[in-house]
Symmetry: C2
Subunit: 119 residues, 2 copies
């Protein structure tokens, strides 16, 4: 794996949650898994903008952080299912709050984001 050169700062709760949620697709992965899309191929279809490789990597990190667990069915063709751990479940209300805020302010957000990009 990549060996970090700049040490992490893990001083407060915000640092800690950032460490496990930071990653372009992680929050969405947790969200979709919570909604019942548990197989890697389903998740890839739900998030077509992400490459297969990156989703695998981020799923692995979520698993190492014990937010999700991975169950392998010994069948052919292979079948794998992810599910939220108990710990991962406690994060759902927080993610929900994030999404809700984004939805509540969708119009304004689109405006300011677009405005900034055009400069």
């Amino acid at each position: 794996m990549y060996e970090r050169k700049i040490p992490l700062s893990l001083n407060c709760g915000l640092d800690l949650i950032g460490e496990v949620l930071y990653g372009k697709w992680k929050i969405r992965l947790l969200w979709f898994i919570n909604e019942g899309f548990m197989r890697p191929s389903e998740l890839q279809r739900k998030i077509p903008d992400a490459s297969r490789r990156v989703l695998n990597m981020q799923l692995k990190e979520l698993e190492e952080h014990e937010l999700i667990s991975r169950k392998i069915y010994p069948v052919v063709p292979p079948k794998v299912e992810y599910s939220l751990t108990e710990f991962g479940n406690t994060l759902i209300p927080v993610i929900s709050a994030l999404g809700q805020w984004g939805d509540d302010h969708e119009e304004h957000l689109r405006t300011v984001i677009t405005k900034r990009l055009e400069k």
Copy 2:
């Protein structure tokens, strides 16, 4: 500025909030501004791990996204104060929820983060 080559995905509320909060120090900046540390030099002292330059850049982005506003006092030496906009204020409960979750699970988080780094 840097010209983006990969288009953003702004499909849902989670994408939108991600766009304005993604940045190593942004959440903390909002938090400290909310706590009353409004001057650039104060913020730099509160977040010593960040370089001055990066804080300025992230503050500028927060301002362009209309989460904070910047007031310049025409005095010498210069004085600048940031404050949350009304819009930025609506984000505080969300950030609070993030920090609270991190605090509530601090011990477990430290364990899993450290464990993963040691591999």
